[in-house]
Each structure stands twice: as structure tokens, then as C-alpha cells.
Amino acid sequence: MNPSVQALRHHFEEGGAIGRALESCGDTIVYVQASMLPRALEFLKVTPEQDYDYLVDVTAVEYRDAERPLELVYELFSLRRRAQLRVKVELDKSEDLVIDSIVPLWNAANWLEREVYDMFGVRFEGHPDLRRILMWETYSEGHPLRKDFPLRGRFSRSEQVRRALNMNPEAHYSMEELSIAQAYHELPADMRDRLARDERGKVPDPESS
């Protein structure tokens, strides 16, 4: 077992912040309470004895067993000590899937968290630019890597092709759009709703009004 787990337990004594730890195939896995995640990762990153300076990967796992919570996986590596540690967070699927972003700690988390948001629907609070990254932004079938998402998508093939062909390939090609996309989460709810229906970029016709 990786000694960093003991150090974590020692440093975060209060209220079960550090959950169980186990070893699988030689890798050490430690569970951390969701609210404590940024602090725990910061401790692992900046403490000289820990020195986990390299964020290898951020991803999520949903199990086939619907009862099990969704897990976020943070794979850490220390370049100097050549040590590996996998930090996991459990998110209850019956509640909102929200967690604090770790982009302030590692810039690498930016796109990785966007991918988790896109594929699993986990929202990262404090992320500078949380948008879909692989699917297009008006994609409305859901989050593809969730277990309740069918392999071929929710819509029929003809509906998928129709929506794809009616997508605007020039989205994001104006200053207004770019700033809207960046400020997406600060927008009023009704505007967000209209944007989600792909009403972006239309200039109202002055003659009809």
C-alpha cells in the first residue's frame, strides 16, 4: 500500500474525509469525500514528501450495477518519486453530479474535465469553460458513456442524420458567439435555453417586428 494514503489520513483527520483505500493490480486507490477533493489533491501536489506533480488522467466510471455510485478517477504520478496514486470520488447518482474543478491545480484538467462533463454529465464547479468537447454543443441525446445510454444513441438513424445535417457548421465563427460560449453559465436561464435549441446567431428581422 502506498504510504501516501497514511499521510492523507493523518493530514485530514476530521470527519471521514478520506475513505477506504485498496490495492488493485498493484495500483493504490484511495477514496476521498467529494467536498474534500481539491484540498486533498492540493495536499498531494504541493507537499514535498508527496510531490504528485503530474496529473495523468481524469475520468469517470459508471458500473453496470445501477446501485453503485458514479466514480470520478484522478490518476496521479510523481515524476520525481516515480510513485502512482489513484484518487477516487464517489458521486451519488440520485443527486446532482457536481464537484469542484481542479483546473486551478492543473491546467491539464481543463479538457479532461470537459470530456467527463460531455460523456458523463458531471458538472465541475469553477471550471473556466465547461462546454461539451467531443459532441456538439446542441447534442440533445444525453451523455453517451452513461450506462442508460444505448450504444446507437436514443434517436433513430434518420433523426440523427437530420439533426446532424441541420447543424450549423459555422457555429463559433463570430466574436459574439465565442464570448457567449465562454460566458454560457453566467447567462440567464431563458437565454441558455434558447441557445440549447440552437437559436444562436440568428439576427432578428427588423421588418417583421
Partner: protein
Amino acid sequence: MATRRIEFNLATTGLDPQGRAARLPLGVADRGGVGILTGEDEPQLGGDHMLVNIGPQHPATHGVLRLVVELDGEVVVRVIPHIGYLHTGFEKLGEYRQYNQIVTLTDRMDYLAPMSNNVCLALAVEKLMGLDITERCKVLRVIACELSRIISHLVWMGTTAIDLGAFTPFLWCFQERERVYDLQEMWTGARLTTSLTRVGGLMADIPDGFESGLREFCKTFPNTLDEVDVMLTRNAIWCARLQGIGIMSAEEAINYSLSGPMLRASGVPYDVRKDRPYLDYESYDFEIPVGEHGDAYDRFLCRFEEMRQSVRILEQALDRLPDGPINVSDPRVSLPPKTAAMSDMEAMIFHFKQVMEGIETPVGEAYLPIEGPKGELGYYFVSDGTAKPVRFRVRPPAFINLASLAKMAEGHLLSDLIAINASIDIVMGEVDR
């Protein structure tokens, strides 16, 4: 205010059946295909920033990458990469496939270096199962990894040279690639989509003539490298276009989790082959080239030297190639020989069970990184004890390296953006998966 009426014909069909414009150029209101520009709407060329859209279909973006670039004159103010144009759903599809069936998916992920992807997948599943593979298999997999590294860097070098205006290295690089393709085809039957590995071994042993062919390649390939070296390394244009371009300091490179030549060019000597050895890489004698400036030129030098080191590894691997089986003897993992399956009842049952039900892995999870040509390529499997993974995740080096493009390109010229993008060595199949 003077109103000007501009009629224009759209190059696209442009009109929907109601006669309304379906897709209009930006800045033009939807007025039935006729744009009205008032004096206020006229573009102000003075100090305004300009948006340039590059891609998704563009010869210099190395695939279907789309970059929206905000320019102040010719200087890049910011770059917004849009990816996902090649999102295929590998990770979802992998959850519906048995482990050996996923091998075919990995070919098509990083299609510039399919064999190293195959090897990484097999190693990850073997780590999950706690399997020890045979000595011969290990050496053959090292050969596969290093051949992949060479052909991936060759494509990178050829296409980067084209981006920067030199066509000849592309032809030389592809000529060498064809020779490796011949070897791959000899071994696996396919030029590109090799599907080389199986859990616990390989799909086939190397055929007669492969060893001598590879030795011949190792002997003559450095000559081509020398030619490219003469052509590029001290070329004034090449240096001017690459030196001091897209600099990442060591701290930034670690903060962005860069890996592979991108990280090493910034002076961080992290190579998975040395730091987290797999396939007995610690017993081979080779050097890790490390840059000091962290610019595009150092990345070129790192990749260039890596090819020479790969040739060294290939020669050592050929020298030590032991005899013996390539597959583990466990009948639940590797298929019995065809003759045994046809004549022996037990072998036939194992054959049937493996083909129909797949290989069952114990409950657990494993992350295994290898040093792919693009960087740290990792496969992460979560198993619930069945023959299909609960989660199949690839740690894509090109995806994570590409995330730093916006940081690197800021403040450079538009033409340097192309050089920086080329220096990352992306492959969109892996970025988007």
C-alpha cells in the same frame, strides 16, 4: 445613412425549399438570400480583431481539427481548438466488446502507430489478469512498439515538412514507411490495421524472412535519416520556422501534463520506458533525448533522435530474440492450436468457450501506461468479472498535448500556429476517439 444593397450568389445551394436562405455567411441577416449592409455594418479594418477559421477540413491541421483563431493583424491573440469531429465512440463500443475484440478498435485509434496501441491494450488486460507473458512475446512486442514509433515519427516528419514548405522529405519518409508496411504485412497480413496482439500473446509469430528484412531495414534506414538530417536540421528555413516557436517551460509542460517528445523537449526527462518500465525495457541500452528550449525545434530534434534510438533497440531485440512459444500456455486465455481443436475434445471446448464467451477477467481495475510515439499512452480497464469491461478508457497523449495549443500559440504569427500545431504531433483518431 446610405444603405447599400448587395446581391450575392451563394456558392452553396443555400436556399431551403421555402426559398429562405438556409446558411448564410456571418454578419449577414436572414433576408432571403439578399444581404443588406448599412454603413455601420461595414467591416472596420482599423484595429479590430479578425476571426479566422481553420478546418475542420484543412490540409495543415493533420486531420479534422478545427481552430478558430482571433487575430490582431497577423498575430494570434487566442486560439480556440474545436475537436470531436472524429468522435467515433471507441470507449462506449469497448464496453460491448470482449477484450480480444477491442484489439481491432485500438488499431483505428492511433492509426499512425497501430502496433503500439495493440501492445498497450494487451499489456493492460494482462495486468488486470496478472498474466506473465513469454520471453519471446516480450521481445516481439518491443519490436512492434519500436517499429510503430519509427513509422509514426516518419509521418510526423513528412507532414510537418510539407506544412513548412518542403515536399521531398515527405516522399523519403513515405518510402521508408512502405518498407515497414511490408514488414507489418508480412507479420500480420495488414498494412495498417494490424491487430497484432491477443491477450496473453500475439496473433502470429514472425514469418520466415521477417528477421532478415528487419535487419536490412535497421541497416539502411539510418541512411535515410542522414539524408533528412542534411536536408532539414541545419536548413535555414527550417530553423527559422521552428526555433523559438511554441515554447513551453518545464513547469508549464508538467502543469499541462504533456508527455512524450513534447515533455522531453522542455527538459523533463520522463519516459515511461525508463520510469515505469514494461516489457523489460530496463534491460535495453538506449538513450532518452531531452531538449532544453522547449520549442518546436527541440521537439523535432527529440523525435529525430528517438528514431535512431529505436533502431538501436530494434537491433538489440533482434539479437536477443529467444526461441519458444509466443502465447501463454493457459488454455482459458490463448486459443489451442487448430489441429488440437479439431482432434481433442478438451481443446475444442476451450476453443468454443473462448470464442463464444471471451476471456473472463477478475474483478478489479488496472491502468497501464506505455511510451507511445505521441507520449504516455495508457489503457484503463475496470472489470466486474465478466468478459467485457465495465469501463474502457484510453489516456490519449495527443488529446492532452493538444490542449496546450492555445497556450503555446498565443502571441505568435498565424503561420507559426501551423508549425506549432504540427510540432504537437496529433492524430485525430486518438484525440477524438
